[in-house]
């Protein structure tokens, strides 16, 4: 279904697109000239995505499209039909518990005014998903597409490093728990008298 909308001097067609945003399905009618960033903010009210330079330089508007970091100012929403999009609003748990990367940014003073933060956090989430233990030089390189005018970057790099370390610790604890549980199960199985077979 398309509807015509009169813009300045030309009639352009509004097109329906289906987007899955932070796990929720949205069907929206979009004007072709509107970027994904415009539609997220203005039509869906997801104002956590910040539009800074609007020409791909600052990285503030970075979101994940099908898991990959993408400048939401450099793609049109009409191109995004049937994609899965993660914005900054999709990271914290339903009860408000912050994502480990968000928590680390808070702990390490990885933000001041906060304008660039959503882009940094989503870029860092993707980095840690593809490289769980990056060194500081790698973190710096991978975040070089995001500009911050407040922090001087040192806190941001530390935050990503801390998130990587904590994530590794959580995973190690989970493995240890699993090993302990398995040992307990094996021990209790050994204690039980074997049941007679039919």
């Amino acid at each position: 279904m398309t509807t015509d909308r009169v813009t300045t001097d030309r009639v352009t067609t509004e097109t329906k697109v289906e987007l899955s945003i932070n796990g929720r399905r949205h069907v929206v009618g979009v004007e072709p000239r509107h970027t994904l960033g415009d539609v997220l903010r203005e039509q869906l009210g997801l104002t956590g995505t910040h539009l800074g330079c609007e020409h791909g330089v600052c990285g503030a508007c970075t979101v994940l499209v099908d898991g990959e970091p993408t400048r939401s100012c450099l793609v049109f929403a009409v191109q995004m039909d049937q994609t899965e999009i993660t914005t900054i609003e999709g990271l914290a748990a339903a009860d408000g518990t912050l994502h480990p990367v968000q928590e680390a940014f808070s702990a390490c003073h990885g933000l001041q005014c906060g304008f660039c933060t959503p882009g940094f956090v989503l870029t860092a989430v993707h980095l840690l998903a593809t490289n769980p233990a990056p060194d500081r030089a790698t973190i710096r390189r991978e975040l070089s597409g995001n500009l911050c005018r407040c922090t001087g970057y040192v806190g941001i790099i530390s935050a990503v490093e801390r998130a990587a370390v904590e994530r590794a610790a959580v995973e190690r604890a989970a493995v240890e728990r699993a090993v302990t549980n398995a040992a307990a199960v094996a021990a209790s199985a050994a204690d039980e008298p074997s049941s007679p077979r039919h």
Partner: protein, 276 residues
Amino acid sequence: MKSAPFDYHRATSVDDAVAVLTASDGEAKVIAGGQSLVPLLSMRMAQPTVLVDLNGLAELRSDRPTVTDGRARFGSMTRHAQLAIQTHHGLAAEMAGWIGHTAIRTRGTLGGSLAHADPNAECPALALACDAALSVQGADGVRTIPAAEFFAGMLQTALADDEILTVIDLAVPRRWGFAELARRHGDFALVLATVTELADGWRVVVGGVEGTPVRLADAEAALSSDASTDEVGRTVEESIVAYDDLHATSRYRRAMAAELVRRAVDQARRTQGEAS
């Protein structure tokens, strides 16, 4: 910073895209990755009436190139991120890693960068350095344009309004070297240089000094006669005419071109062959 209105057409095939381009009489624009085009639209430096989107065309994508007889063929919608991780063309992988940032490389494409023809970009220099044969499809059918004839000037190519770049066929160099100078990681190059050994000899290509990437015949001759790295560098400085702009003077560009060629020559001479 909002694009002027346009109609959007998601192409269902290359034929379909060509039909829309032909019907629009030069007023349509093809969008591939859009990482250079969308800013131009937003700043209204380009105001097409129709945008023809190639992103749905599986026929233009290639996860890995087709490799035959020392040449690698890539679909024009190959993303920079894919180019950077493929292992069939080492120079293409190295150069793709220098393009923009992760969030740009996930979207930007080889064909789009060539069609945009920014002289400071990596892909045009790659095409010239590897004797690219560029397949294009238009209303009159398919033709192949050699890289040497494709770049017509700053942001200008031999592509007609109704033509789409479909396949990029690159020679796989036996040995290669690449060096780039940019103010910040991910920026367009101020100057970049490639040195490639192809079946018919050495090629020395420099980008960022003129409106298109340039081949340096004198440096190639010096390299073929086993001149020292410094001698090759000297011929570079003598043979190019670089432009001045707010980023760098002509003299600085010439000096950097010579230094980058020296580094690329050293790298090429150190490496083992890929194709043979």
